[in-house]
């Protein structure tokens, strides 16, 4: 499956991926309205982590052996065997937050108003996810999964 990869050598921590992810999940298409008018404000499915000089954009990895799917109390989370996408069935989600506890990246977010968890779906209705499309430094790449790719990011010296 196609996944979003982060080139941490050029991720500069501007957090525009967070901004555009939020917009994508807002009712409106207008950034100013999404932030200032919509209440409650939509949630970004992305988090930018920073440590020292390294910064990187973190989102759901859609793991093959997804711990969140295993841990989900109600079976709301499932991994599509064909597309490999881990999705949440909002009808069944009770917003207990167990998924967030077991996720090694801590990416599931809780929509407190709806009492549901929200997560990245790689923008299924877009050609490429909006975070990738709007990354100003091309640090995010949407490409076919490479089996040899180490998905746990190397925290080594970037240069």
């Amino acid at each position: 499956m196609k996944k979003v990869y982060v080139n941490e050598k050029v991720c500069m921590g501007c957090r525009l991926c967070e901004v555009y992810c939020l917009l994508k999940h807002a009712q409106t298409k207008d950034l100013v309205k999404a932030y200032k008018k919509e209440s409650p404000r939509a949630l970004s499915r992305i988090r930018v982590d920073e440590s020292g000089i390294v910064s990187l954009s973190v989102r759901c990895e859609h793991c093959a052996e997804a711990p969140c799917v295993r841990a989900c109390l109600t079976g709301a989370l499932s991994r599509d065997p064909v597309t490999g996408l881990v999705t949440v069935d909002e009808e069944q989600c009770i917003g207990c937050g167990t998924c967030a506890l077991v996720c090694p990246l801590g990416v599931p977010k809780l929509d407190k108003a709806q009492k549901k968890m929200v997560k990245c779906d790689f923008c299924q209705d877009e050609e490429i996810p909006v975070c990738v499309a709007n990354c100003p430094n091309e640090a995010l790449v949407y490409m076919e999964e490479k089996p040899d790719n180490n998905r746990v990011v190397n925290y080594v010296n970037t240069n």
Binding site: G13, V32, Y35
Partner: protein, 501 residues
């Protein structure tokens, strides 16, 4: 001490548009923007703003406009705001004012007073879309005459090394340490793609860039940083740097804080020590000494590479250039008044040296008069802004040009002149690893190559209009130029006629 310098810029933030995303905060490396959590507002410390427009370019809602702070000093042609501020800063620091980039003062820019010709009726122009146009340039010493083998017509004359350029525009010397490795990689990749050269500057060649050796000019300068056998062998051209346009007669100083482990390895100096390039090369006090170094470098590389000598354009540039050619240099580089730098005393940058247009014309004329013009290629540098400037420089007698500032602008530089602070928000003139990431060499190479691509298309358009199909036909052909608004002396030095004449 209380500073009397008032903020130069104003960060105007449209509160209706600001969404407090704080991109401006994380992008400003000068700390001019900050988030006030109590009021949930993004605010600015305007005294720290340098007018680099990074925040403006990255604001996703176009909420920011950085403008000059409308500080209206009482009008005075003599005591202009910049002069008042310089004096104020010096009274507060007691030091030399440092700055980056090139001379920004109002000395005449001759390119803007020179116009090109075009063919009409009596001589046909050429359509570059339909007919081949030749921009290929060979740098290096040309023989007195060519001899061919009588029977086979093969070349009998032994040629000295020639370097082929597909575009007569090269990237000028910017060292690793002054600019980041990502910037060098961007330029090196663009040079490779476009068939031209980039220049290491005096900072050595990082191991990761040896693969671009065929498109690399390596510099040997007064500090001799990073010079060793492999370095010379890797290059296409070796350049001896005597001076640079931004600071003729002045050496260089890379502060110890910028000498990281990687920079120290490349420069071959201990980590954290200041890298000081002396003002003169201490083994060159005459043309004869220069000739010794030229031939030492030629010996060291077995006469396989042209040796170039770069000088700043100064009053007697023509006589010096003649000496350089007679000393055995294959290429002479003249860097004009507007040539830029990573750091220089402001007083030197803005007051020392002569405009490249005049220096280039007088050097070319002098070498022709002495009958030695063919013995070296001439490269003009310092303030080349467009393909129009390139065409004019070629017509004034240059074989090729160097671009530095224009190349950096293609990568994002907004010419805010803060290179000397090492805090470049565009991630160009810095070694801060947090900032250098801002140049993605993939994008940088694309942008720099695109610039050369557009200039080469435009150059072909210019040539077509002139009715010639090769850059060779424009080279040194000053009849294609006319001057406007210039005095007789200026026209005479430039060797061009007044428009209408």
């Amino acid at each position: 001490m209380k500073t009397f310098v008032t903020p130069k810029f104003k960060v105007n933030r449209d509160e209706d548009r600001c969404i407090q995303c704080q991109v401006c905060v994380n992008q400003c490396s000068f700390g001019a923007n900050y988030y006030d959590a109590e009021e949930n507002k993004v605010k600015s410390r305007e005294e720290l703003c340098t007018g680099c427009h990074r925040c403006e370019a990255f604001c996703p809602t176009n909420a920011i406009r950085v403008t000059y702070n409308p500080l209206d000093y009482r009008g005075n042609y003599n005591w202009r705001p910049d002069i008042i501020e310089d004096i104020t800063k010096q009274s507060e620091t007691g030091g030399v004012l440092l700055t980056g980039m090139g001379d920004d003062k109002s000395q005449r820019i001759y390119w803007d007073h020179i116009v090109l010709n075009a063919s009409q009726v009596t001589n046909p122009s050429i359509d570059p879309l339909r007919e081949p146009m030749e921009l290929t340039t060979y740098l290096g010493q040309k023989p007195e005459r060519l001899e061919l083998e009588p029977g086979t017509h093969n070349l009998k004359t032994k040629m000295t090394p020639q370097v082929k350029l597909d575009v007569p525009v090269m990237f000028s010397a910017m060292s690793y340490g002054a600019v980041s490795l990502n910037v060098q990689e961007s330029l090196a990749r663009a040079a490779k793609e476009m068939g031209t050269l980039w220049n290491t500057g005096e900072g050595g060649l990082h191991p990761s860039l040896y693969k671009y050796g065929d498109n690399t000019i390596v510099q040997v300068a007064s500090g001799r940083f990073g010079v060793h056998a492999d370095y010379l062998d890797a290059a296409k051209i070796i350049e001896i740097k005597i001076g640079q346009g931004a600071k003729p007669g002045i050496g260089g100083h890379l502060p110890g804080e910028k000498v990281s482990a990687d920079v120290s390895l490349t420069r071959m100096i201990p980590e954290g020590t200041d890298a000081i390039s002396p003002a003169p090369q201490h083994d060159i006090y005459s043309i004869e000494d220069l000739a010794q170094l030229i031939y030492a470098l030629k010996e060291a590389t077995n006469y396989t590479k042209p040796v170039s000598v770069k000088i700043a354009a100064v009053h007697n540039a023509a006589a010096i250039a003649s000496g350089i050619v007679r000393g055995g240099a294959d290429i002479v580089v003249i860097d004009g008044l507007r040539g830029a730098t990573g750091a220089a005393p402001k007083v030197i940058r803005d007051n020392v040296g002569i405009p490249i247009e005049l220096a280039l014309a007088s050097v070319d004329s002098r070498l022709r008069q002495e009958g030695i013009r063919h013995r070296a290629s001439l490269v003009a540098s310092g303030g080349i802004r467009s393909s129009g400037d390139v065409a004019k420089a070629i017509a004034l007698g240059a074989d090729a040009v160097y671009i530095g500032t224009a190349a950096l602008i293609s990568l994002g530089c907004h010419v805010c002149q803060q290179c000397h602070t090492g805090k470049c928000a565009w991630g160009i003139c810095t070694t801060d690893l947090r900032l250098t990431k801002r140049i993605n060499p993939e994008i940088g190479a694309r942008r720099a190559a695109n610039l050369l691509r557009s200039w080469s298309i435009e150059l072909k358009d210019i040539l077509g209009g002139l009715g010639v199909n090769a850059l060779e036909s424009l080279r040194g052909n000053r009849l294609h130029l006319r001057g406007i608004g210039l005095s007789d002396t200026e026209l005479e030095i430039l060797g061009i006629r007044m428009a209408g004449n």
